[in-house]
Symmetry: C2
Subunit: 353 residues, 2 copies
């Protein structure tokens, strides 16, 4: 383990573990992003994946939001699709369109095209970025590492890009279930090593993003997605028990109970989930994270504060890390993000201590 400056603000890590905190910690998904002019300036002239492979630039982008907002965590700037890249698939990020795989997996036979990478060789640039970021952070707040959940990565690898319903990927689950399971296992193998590599490099908490969880019904999610999520949590718990684990299965309203007992300290909620209902379904032994509708940040400051107050009341005195229910959007006003962060800090104190 490299030596890094001691952590000054551990409120988020304590909330993740269910320990007492003076206020509700807060961060924002995609807080290092296009809504920040300094982000656009720093990345200018570089493609998305060039940026991901430039450790100094990643460190800079990762800490940018901290210069504006007193958020309680940073998250390393990267993308979940670096894992499919490491497994041998080309991925481009098209401007205004999102990810594009020129040659997605067309059928089970294409599994032969995938490689089992050595993560140090193929994803070492992320580990290096994490080391640099820890140094630049200077212990200000903990640093999140992250990875895509196997089902979500599988969905992209088959569909070849973003989609409203990832029909081709869902078709595999029913028409080629054995191949689907092999693919999910192969992705899980890499993801396990990848997250452990991030932790060795300095990630102090990790989050698994199952962005397309909501495209599966309860049966398919239980059969295909949950086993990989559980295996990832178990491996991390065994190899790095001191590092809290978070999972964000967007749209998986049908799987809250299972997610809460899958080995994660933190279950992140999208904005369609009622906080009080989530708490009663998950029980008291997990930290819930979320879940303000990002669209609320388009509203005036008073409305933002009112919605934050409502959200905090919904989560009540239970274990909570405040966040949006999805990522920041390119046309968000940074001043409104500041209002969100400030409102969480100031309005959450009555729920603690």
């Amino acid at each position: 383990m490299p030596e890094f400056p001691p952590l000054k603000n551990d409120v988020l890590l304590r909330a993740a573990r269910g320990e007492a905190v003076p206020y509700t910690p807060v961060w924002m998904m995609r807080q290092a992003g296009r809504y920040l002019p300094e982000y656009r300036a720093a990345r200018e002239g570089q493609t998305f994946f060039e940026t991901c492979r430039d450790p100094d630039l990643v460190a800079e982008l990762t800490v940018q939001p901290l210069r504006r907002f007193p958020i309680d965590a940073a998250i390393v700037f990267s993308d979940i699709l670096v894992v499919p890249q490491a497994m041998g698939l080309e991925v481009q990020m098209l401007k205004g369109k999102g990810p594009f795989f020129p040659e997605p997996l067309a059928g089970p036979r294409d599994l032969e095209r995938l490689v089992r990478p050595d993560v140090e060789d193929s994803l070492g640039y992320v580990f290096e970025a994490i080391r640099r970021t820890r140094t630049v952070l200077d212990g200000a707040v903990p640093l999140f590492g992250f990875a895509g959940a196997p089902w979500t990565l599988m969905a992209y690898m088959i569909e070849g890009g973003g989609s409203k319903s990832f029909d081709a990927a869902r078709a595999w689950l029913y028409a080629e279930p054995a191949a689907a399971e092999r693919l999910l296992e192969a992705i899980t193998d890499v993801t396990e090593a990848y997250l452990l590599g991030q932790i060795r490099a300095g990630a102090q908490i990790v989050q698994v993003f199952d962005s397309w969880a909501g495209l599966l019904g309860p049966d398919a999610y239980r059969r295909f997605a949950m086993p990989s999520l559980r295996r990832l949590a178990a491996t991390l718990a065994r190899e790095a028990p001191e590092v809290p684990r978070a999972v964000f299965a967007r749209g998986a309203h049908f799987a809250l109970e299972e997610l809460a007992t899958a080995g994660y300290d933190v279950v992140s909620l999208d904005w369609t989930i009622d906080p009080a209902a989530a708490r009663s379904r998950t029980g008291p032994d997990v930290t819930l994270q979320g879940n303000l509708d990002p669209a609320v940040l388009y509203a005036a400051p008073d409305t933002i504060r009112e919605r934050v107050a409502r959200m905090l009341a919904g989560f009540g005195r239970g274990r909570h890390i405040a966040n949006l229910g999805h990522g920041m959007l390119p046309d968000h006003d940074p001043e409104h993000a500041a209002v969100f962060v400030e409102a969480v800090h100031s309005l959450s104190r009555p729920y603690h201590g």
Copy 2:
């Protein structure tokens, strides 16, 4: 009311009203669609909206699936976006891309661009198509009319096309709530008249499609979307009590209880909802419709039958109309749709009588 041939198969209407039926009736959303070669042949050379405005062609497309499958209902071929067109917005259907509004509503001031149409003048072509279809149907099965729910139409009118999250539309709800409510009311006014016109023309059951319900959280849905849905149901119940009303609020897992008491006879479920859970949340006094994952139709016939059996067991002996949890897809095999329909009919008898 025009005179039409008497109805020979009223199983679906009886299931909608909660009356005894010998088997579970079944139809498929988007059953008149691109997966049928005869659909592609019939529409060749016409744009999507030209097709919608050709009553004889609409009648032909609407009855095509009945020639292949013993489905228990037809649904008039049309699109929810004919209402925004009638309100003065241009809508194009771009090949492979979906709907496109060259000039969407950019802000509250743009509400002035909308007109309150006379539905006979602007949407009479749909009513004429319904009359022709009823004649061609010759009483074989009941004919569904339909409309988009006001929130979903608002989402398109502001966003200008399909989108994963309709951020601009959601922004209105928080930043311009009064304008959002005025827009929703204006759409509801037209939709009310439009559905009543469809019923006068011969629609025997109607369905309201809230395709983007799942983009709103529980609070926003309750405040903005439910009032229009309730108002539509109340108007229809008063003006056409003999015509059953169905609502499909896709993704609205958080609003099932409210939907079940909003004045609809039928609540349609997407495939992320567990049927037994839905029944226990909605109570016995509403017909549930759905909800096989359309991706199951990519699987082999045995798998399709197995998933249908499981779905029927989930719905049990309660009021049920079988359907997919979303529409048919262009690359579905019509033979697999036939397996689905046959499986529902043959496997559902034990749940009745």
